[in-house]
C-alpha cells in the first residue's frame, strides 16, 4: 500500500520499517496477544473479536467482487426528477405522504436501529437484516423516478431529509449505512446519462440493493472538496483514476462507487467506478464514530473507467450541487441525532436526584436543556428551508451553508452537552450519549457519503 504523504501515521510507519496498515494490525494483534492483563480482566475474547472486526477488511486486497451491472432497458434520454413550484405560503406542515413516511421510518429507527446500535458500533458493521429492512421500507426507491422503477414523482430533498432525520433518531452510524446506497442512486438519477441510469439503477430498485458509496473525502488536514488530490487523467477510451478516498461507508461491501476526482484541466468531477475494477482496494478505516457504517479507505491505483463513467459531463455545476446536497443530507442526520440527545437527557435530568432534588431543578442544568432545544429548532428550520428551496428549484447555496454551519457547531455542542448532563454516566457505554458525542463530531468533517 502506498501511504499518502499527508497521512499522519505514514512517518510513524516508515520509521518502523515501512509497516502499512495491515502490518500495523498484525503488530497490534501480536502485542495484545502477549498481554497477561487481558486474561486477568477476562477481556481476551472481546478484544480478539474487536480486533478481528476492526481489521478484517484490512486483509482484503481487492474491493468487493461485485455483480455485473448489465444495461437494462435504456430510455432515450435520462430521466430527471422535476422540481416543483412550492405553494406560495410560509408553512411548516409536512404533506400527508411525508408524515406517513416519517412515522414509518421513525418507528423502524426506534424499534430496530436504536436497539442494535451499540452492538453495530462495536462490531463496525451493520447487520444485513437491518439493511434489508431499510431497503424494504423503500428508502432507495424514494429518489428514483417512476420511469426508472422507483417511486419518486419529483425532487424530494425535503422528504429525504425527513427520512435521514428519522433514521438518525435511531442511530447515526446505522442511518449512514442505510442511506449510503441511495447516495449513489440519487447521484445517478440527478447526473447520470441514459446509459448509466440503464446500467445501474435497475439494481437499486430491485430486491437486492447493492452496497454503494459516494466517495469525496480524502485523508489529509484542511481538506477542501474543491481541491482534490485524487486525479482523473484521460486515457484510451476513458479515464485513469489515482488517489485515496477516506471514510467510505461500507467500503468493503460496496459494489459501486461514485468517486470525486480532479479531472485534468476541468476541475473536480464525479466518476462511477465498479468495485471489480482493477487497481481498486479497500482498507478498513474505523473512526471515532459512524462505526456501524463500516468505514474504509478506498485506494485507486491506475483505475481505468470508460468515458461513460463521468457524471454530469464533468461540469463544475454538477459537482458543486453534489457537495451542497451532501452537506444538506448531513444536516438532516445532525438534526435527528441532536433530537435523540434531547429526548434522552430530559427524563435523565428529571429522574436524577442530587442534593435532595432532581438535577433539572437547577438552572445550570435546565438552561442547557433550553439551549439544546432552541439551537436544535434553529438547525431544523434552516435545514428544511434549504431542502424546500432545492425541491423548488431555487438557489440554495447560501441556505445549505448556513444550515450546515448550524448543524456542525450547535450539533457538536449538543453532543457534548448530552454527555455533560449525564456526568459520569454519560461517559460510559451503558448510555448512548457517548456514541452520539462521537458520531456528531463527524458532521463537520464529512463530505459526500450521503446525498438528498
Amino acid at each position: 500500500m502506498a501511504a499518502s504523504s499527508a497521512d499522519p501515521a505514514a512517518g510513524d510507519r516508515a520509521s518502523r520499517g515501512g509497516r502499512d496498515a495491515m502490518g500495523l494490525s498484525l503488530s497490534l494483534l501480536n502485542r495484545l496477544a502477549g498481554a497477561p492483563l487481558l486474561d486477568r480482566l477476562g477481556l481476551r475474547r472481546p478484544v480478539q473479536k474487536a480486533v478481528y472486526e476492526a481489521t478484517r477488511t484490512g486483509f482484503r486486497t481487492a474491493a468487493a467482487a461485485g455483480r455485473s451491472f448489465a444495461a437494462a432497458r435504456r430510455l432515450g434520454k435520462p430521466a430527471r426528477p422535476a422540481t416543483a413550484a412550492a405553494a406560495d405560503l410560509f408553512d411548516l406542515t409536512p404533506t400527508e405522504d411525508q408524515r406517513l413516511i416519517r412515522e414509518t421510518v421513525a418507528e423502524f429507527a426506534t424499534e430496530q436501529l436504536r436497539e442494535r446500535a451499540a452492538e453495530a458500533d462495536q462490531r463496525c458493521a451493520t447487520p444485513d437484516d437491518l439493511l434489508a429492512k431499510s431497503a424494504e421500507l423503500g428508502i432507495t426507491l424514494l429518489g428514483v423516478p417512476e420511469e426508472l422503477g422507483g417511486i419518486g414523482t419529483g425532487r424530494c430533498a425535503l422528504t429525504s431529509i425527513l427520512v435521514a432525520e428519522a433514521l438518525a433518531g435511531g442511530d447515526l452510524g446505522l442511518a449512514v449505512a442505510c442511506l449510503a446506497s441511495s447516495a449513489v442512486s440519487t447521484a445517478l438519477v440527478l447526473w447520470g446519462d441514459a446509459d448509466a441510469q440503464a446500467s445501474y439503477l435497475p439494481s437499486f430498485v430491485g430486491e437486492d440493493v447493492p452496497a454503494a458509496a459516494l466517495a469525496i473525502l480524502e485523508p489529509r488536514p484542511l481538506f477542501d472538496p474543491f481541491e482534490l488530490r485524487t486525479v482523473a487523467r484521460r486515457g484510451s477510451g476513458g479515464f485513469v483514476l489515482d488517489g485515496v478516498k477516506s471514510l467510505v461507508p461500507r467500503a468493503a461491501q460496496a459494489e459501486l462507487f461514485v468517486v470525486a476526482a480532479e479531472l485534468e484541466g476541468r476541475g473536480p468531477a464525479l466518476f462511477v467506478v465498479e468495485s471489480g475494477s482493477a487497481g481498486l482496494s479497500v482498507v478498513a478505516e474505523p473512526a471515532m464514530g459512524l462505526r456501524a457504517a463500516g468505514m474504509g479507505r478506498l485506494e485507486l491505483a491506475k483505475v481505468h473507467v470508460p468515458d461513460t463513467a463521468l457524471l454530469g459531463e464533468g461540469s463544475t455545476q454538477t459537482y458543486t450541487e453534489c457537495v451542497r446536497l451532501s452537506r444538506l443530507a448531513w444536516c438532516g442526520l445532525a438534526v435527528g441525532t441532536a433530537q435523540a440527545v434531547l429526548d434522552y437527557v430530559i427524563p435523565y435530568v428529571n429522574d436524577r436526584v442530587a442534593f435532595g432534588e432532581p438535577v433539572s431543578h437547577r438552572q445550570g442544568v435546565a438552561f442547557k436543556i433550553a439551549d439544546i432545544a432552541i439551537e436544535l429548532e434553529g438547525m431544523r428550520l434552516a435545514t428544511y428551508r434549504a431542502a424546500a428551496r432545492a425541491d423548488a428549484g431555487k438557489p440554495f447555496a447560501r441556505e445549505v451553508a448556513l444550515a450546515h454551519r448550524l448543524c456542525v457547531d450547535k450539533g457538536m455542542a449538543i453532543g457534548s452537552d448530552g454527555v455533560q448532563l449525564l456526568g459520569g454516566h454519560g461517559y460510559v457505554k451503558e448510555h448512548p450519549v457517548e456514541r452520539w458525542y462521537r458520531d456528531l463530531r463527524s458532521i463537520g468533517i464529512a463530505e459526500g457519503i450521503v446525498l438528498v
Binding site: 412550492a86 405553494a87 406560495d88 405560503l89 410560509f90 408553512d91 411548516l92 406542515t93 409536512p94 404533506t95 411525508q98 425535503l158 488536514p221 484542511l222 481538506f223 477542501d224 472538496p225 481541491e227 458543486t320 457537495v323 451542497r324 434531547l342 430530559i346 435530568v349 428529571n350 432534588e357 432532581p358 433539572s360 431543578h361 438552572q363 435546565a366 438552561f367 436543556i369 433550553a370 439551549d371 432545544a373 432552541i374 439551537e375 429548532e377 434553529g378 438547525m379 428550520l381 434552516a382 428544511y384 428551508r385 424546500a388 428551496r389 423548488a392 431555487k394 447555496a397 447560501r398 441556505e399 445549505v400 451553508a401 448556513l402 444550515a403 450546515h404 454551519r405 448550524l406 457547531d409
Partner: protein
Amino acid sequence: MINLEVPGKLGVLVSQARQSAAEIFRPNSRKYDQAEHTYPVELDVLAALIDGLNASGAGGAGASGVRRDKDGDKTKIRNGANLATVLGTIEMCWGDVGLLLSMPRQGLGNAAIASVANDEQLQRFAGKWAAMAITEPDCGSDSAAIRTTAVLDGEDYVLNGEKIYVTSGERADAVVVWATLDRARGRAAIKSFVVEKGTPGFELVRLEHKLGIRASDTAHFRLENVRVPKANLLGDPEINVERGFAGVMQTFDNTRPLVAAMAVGVAKAALEETARLLSEAGIEIDYDRVGPRAPAVVSTYLALEADYEAAYLLTLEAAWMADNSRPNSLQASMAKAKAGRSATEIALRCVELAGSLGYSENSLLEKWARDAKILDIFEGTQQIQQLIVARRLLGKSSAELK
C-alpha cells in the same frame, strides 16, 4: 407543504417597510441617537402612512397586527397579520430599532390592547398610542411581585405605585399599567389597566439616559390615587387562580416574536453593512468554500449569519403559529431567546470585524451594537426565556424550577 419562504402576497409590505426604513429611519438614525429625548418629528408622516395601511386591512405594519383572528377556517394554513407584522418589523428595525419603538401608535401597549382587549375597548382605544408599564423599582423579571395596587372604588379602580422603563411613556397617549388587585393572591390578581395621560395623580418622574435605543424615550412614572374607569381593565376582572397569570401573559406570546423580529432586523443591518465593508476590503463570502481553508473572517461571518438565519426562522415560526391559532408560548420564547442573544453577539462581532470603522461614530455599527443589547433584556430577559423553555420541556412548575 413545507416552505419557509416569504409568500409573494407579503412582498409588497416587506418592500414598503424596507423603503420607509431606508428613506426615513436610516437618514435620521444618528441624529436621534445623539439628540436623546428629542421627539423625532419625521415619524409623524410615516405613522400616518401606517395608520392608513392598517385601516386598509392590509395589516402587518404595526403593533395592532398581533391580534388573533378567532374566526376563519382552522384547517387551512394561513399567512396572516402576525407573520406580516414580524416581517415588517424586521425591515423597519433594519432601518432603526429606536425609531421603530418611537413610532406613534405602535407601542407595546398597543400590542397588549390588540391581544387582550374586548371589542368595546378595542374600539374605544383605537387611534391611541399606548405604552406598556410592567417594571417597578423593585421588580423586573419577577412580574408576579408587582406592588402597584388597584382597588375598586365605585365605578373606578384607584391605582397606586411606581413604574419604570416605560418605553414611549412620555410621548404615548395612554399607558397600559400592570397592577395587582390583591397582593395576597399572587399572579392571578395581576391585571392590566389603560391609564390615559393627563389623569390626575399620574406623574412623570423623569426620562432615562440609556446605552442605546436613545431615539426612544424611557419614562419613570409615579401613580398616586390615579382613578381609571372600571371599563379600562383589559381582559377578565375576576381573580381566577386556575387561569392565573394567563390573561396578561398571553400578551407575551404575541409581543415576544415582535421583539425577536426587532433583534433580527438589527442583526440583518449589521451583517449587511459588514459584508459591504468586507467586500470593499476584497473579501467575498463563498458559501461553498466554508471549510477549514476559508479565511477566519469568512468563517466568523458565516457563523454569525447562521445564527441570524436560525433567529429569523424561529421568529417566523412563532408568528406562523400565532396566525394559525396554535399555542406558541414555547416558540415565542425560543425565538426571543435566540434572536436576543444572537443580535447582540452579531452586532458586537461586526464592530470587531470592521475595526475602528465599526467602533467609531463614522458608521452605524457601534450604534447597532448598543441598540441590540436591550433586545436581550426587555419583554423578558434571555434568562427568563430560558426558564420558560426549560420549564415547558422538563414539565416543571415555577416553584420547582426557580
